[in-house]
Symmetry: C2
């Protein structure tokens, strides 16, 4: 399979697309812009969901579910919000089909809705319209709610996982009595996302705040985590918004304070989506196929018997059983593939291409020697191991793979992060990809100029790192600190 894969050096975008398709992660459906997430891809998404959901609950959040449809008038209530989403709304206008003797099945013109419904592109409006009924007093606050859902943002140019008309995500929507609490919540959830990205996805991220022009439609501040892909482009992996009182004001959500005053509620919202699947692929995978961090691999260890006949296979089955049991007892997920419909060579190729972190082969000689052959996917190294303490060895190996993937990605990012002070140098080098730490004068005009001239955008104003003031690389005007410029997905 990997021989049919475009090489990354040859065409990174084509490599990505090939890989998503051939590794059975996802495919385009015939419905414009909508993807089918195939079982192998969905199993990884389920792992992501489980980890994130656990982290949300550990920080006091609960799940709920709000309607798919949003009345058009709701969207219109928050001015910058509707402006941000109007151009990509799927609109439901009718609620019935009927049979027409000439044209077959048609939309029934008599079943037109009085008010059109928008398929949610995000749920701030319908949720804040609901919160009006839920929040009366400071006792009802904070409200810490998350929703796992599908959303639709009509896109004409789509890429699997990275940009699709329908995608899956979670959206947190919280309500607070004070500005400080809402801001802390937005920052807390950004930290949760960063921890998830680094500890589970083995993907280093930079936390920061977006510039005004890159802010979420309706937010006061948008925080983000940005990751560098293997081609040096940046990918926004998650965002968290401090919404101020914008939605509370648009939907009249007031609460009685302890001092018996009426005040508008403060809000945050935050989300990550199936886009993370694209980020995961473009952080670790290689010319041989998928590479998955063990903590998100649907199956961590594949075991393949190499037998010449049924008798040998039965013997290997018996030899492998205690190994499988020992691995599972450690919570390691294992597939023992003794299916005789496929040859061992096909299986090796399959498990390598689909990113199983560890592959174990067992043949007759292994039984004689009390060994197995262990291959790790990240480095493609193989070693023969004695079966004594095999579960401990594999457990350490999985941790080593997880650590190695993170270190490799971090090194890659560090090697491709450049401090630049001259706009000429910036323009020369931006085409090669990477993060450029440069001074910026804080104006939308300069940001726009750089974007128009180089296609690079300010990915974020990072929270940590060098905070020394300087002069804007473009205008020479004063700059508070360096920001990150990069081309982005």
């Amino acid at each position: 399979m990997s021989d049919q894969l475009t090489k990354r050096d040859a065409d990174y975008a084509q490599w990505y697309n090939d890989l998503v398709l051939k590794a059975d992660m996802a495919e385009h459906s015939e419905v414009r812009g909508c993807m089918v997430i195939k079982p192998h891809g969905y199993a990884i998404w389920e792992k992501m969901q489980a980890a994130l959901d656990g982290m949300f609950k550990a920080t006091g959040h609960v799940n709920a579910y709000f309607p798919l449809f949003i009345p058009k008038s709701y969207l219109a209530k928050e001015a910058s919000h509707v402006e941000g989403f109007a151009k990509e709304c799927a609109v439901v206008t009718h609620y019935r089909l009927k049979s027409d003797p000439e044209k077959g099945i048609i939309v029934d013109p008599d079943a037109k809705l009085d008010e059109e419904l928008i398929v949610r592109p995000t749920s701030e409006t319908i949720i804040w319209n609901t919160y009006r009924g839920w929040i009366k007093s400071y006792r009802d606050l904070p409200l810490l709610i998350n929703q796992w859902a599908n959303v639709v943002r009509w896109e004409l140019r789509t890429r699997l996982f990275l940009r699709t008309a329908e995608f899956l995500w979670q959206e947190g929507h919280t309500a607070h009595a004070t500005q400080q609490e809402a801001e802390e919540e937005a920052r807390r959830m950004l930290d949760v996302y960063a921890t998830f990205a680094e500890e589970w996805m083995a993907m280093p991220v930079i936390k920061g705040v977006k510039t005004a022009s890159e802010r979420f439609a309706g937010a006061v501040d948008t925080y983000c985590i940005e990751a560098m892909m293997q081609d040096g482009k940046s990918l926004q992996a998650g965002t968290s918004h401090f919404l101020g009182q914008n939605f509370a004001k648009a939907f009249d959500v007031l609460f009685t304070t302890k001092d018996n005053k009426q005040e508008y509620v403060w809000a945050s919202s935050w989300g990550v989506s199936t886009r993370l699947m694209g980020a995961l692929i473009m952080t670790h995978s290689d010319d041989h196929g998928l590479v998955l961090p063990p903590k998100l691999a649907p199956v961590q260890v594949a075991i393949v018997p190499i037998a010449k006949n049924g008798e040998q296979l039965t013997a290997i089955d018996g030899y492998v059983k205690p190994i499988v049991d020992a691995l599972r007892a450690k919570g390691i997920t294992v597939k023992y593939d003794n299916d005789d419909k496929r040859k061992p060579g096909w299986k090796f190729a399959e498990y390598e291409f689909k990113g199983y972190p560890v592959r174990i082969a067992v043949g007759p000689r292994d039984m004689e020697n009390g060994t197995v052959e262990v291959a790790r996917r990240d480095t493609l190294e193989k070693q023969v191991m004695q079966t004594a303490d095999i579960a401990e060895k594999v457990e350490h190996l999985l941790q080593a793979i997880q650590d190695n993937l993170y270190r490799k990605a971090l090194t890659m990012r560090e090697e491709n992060t450049h401090v630049v002070d001259s706009y000429e140098e910036f323009k020369d080098r931006i085409g090669q990809g990477g993060f450029f730490m440069a001074h910026w004068d804080g104006t939308a005009e300069t940001e726009e100029r750089v974007k128009n001239e180089t296609k690079a955008t300010i990915r974020c104003i990072p929270f940590t790192g060098d905070k020394t003031p300087g002069k804007c690389m473009v205008t020479g005007n004063p700059s508070a600190q360096r920001v990150i410029f990069a081309k982005a997905y």
Copy 2:
């Protein structure tokens, strides 16, 4: 709270509606027919999902995700399928809004879709259109896929959980090489649903096959589980369909057999939905509020301290801590509610009303005596228990509650199941509710007549029980076996 609840005897439908709202399970949104599932309701749904998902995976199924939108032409490909769903389809016709100087935000008439998209009412068509690309040979079969998703069936008269325009569900869609395998799969998944209903929901069900007129649109056979609600009405809690080759033929899905022939693929589909939430409520809850089986309760044990002052509270905190630890060590979910914003009386009422299976109260005298007061929700009984081995005692109590709820529901059903041979007697008694085991001549005409005259339908032809032939209670014509007539949700 329970004093504001309509009594079941007074108005069962109103009791149900009150309870769903007041117990914070769900509410109507302002979007016609769509509900908001509130955190307490959603937490129960999550427990249901986790249990079902585990059972699906244990029977070899994997999850995937298919598009929300279905092109109108797909629906039209299977004739009886489109006939069944045409009248309840939400239709997307446009993909953009725009600002109009006079009317504000309007649907952009220039952004009309060439082909209208239906918001999925069920996914057979889009999935079988996709399976055409996935299935080439017998090696690709069986394909055992499930999807967790939202679906939309436009309903004008809605009831929370029981009948809503949007609802959440899972839909399994499997593909097989032989008719026998597909039929076995449909029956296997019906068994999974029955096991889930009885062992997790503590809700006894009857398995059977639907009559032709109650069949899923596009199915060859529809199997179902039917449960009796407290008012004697039947609720169809899950269905599983043997689809024959209908969808394979509509979407040209053929496979190469081992003998190198081309054959159409055989199919099953099966689903349960948030309707189960309604079934759960109407099986166990009472005039005091929700009653939840411990296996599906989001929190199984609530512990409430009764303290006169901060000092006492601190002492109780210390007294309770090892109890909480011991319960959690057994996998029991516990909430220790020492929040001082609410009084103990408020908390007792809250936990009773919301169906926490076990409530433990701890006051100063308990500390002196080494006791706690334990209340069980199902019987409302209280007893003082020594704290020695408290975790074991509570574990047994939770199991006793689970068993008692099932037994009570089964007894209720048995007492309200009647064998009738005369149509006169049937008409006299059907108004009181219950299941009526009666002979039927197998014709749609008789079924229709009974429905028109009594509003009762044939819920299913049960798989087990009395199989003696007899004479139809309406026409006197031969009948193969008794079937179940009942009024239904």
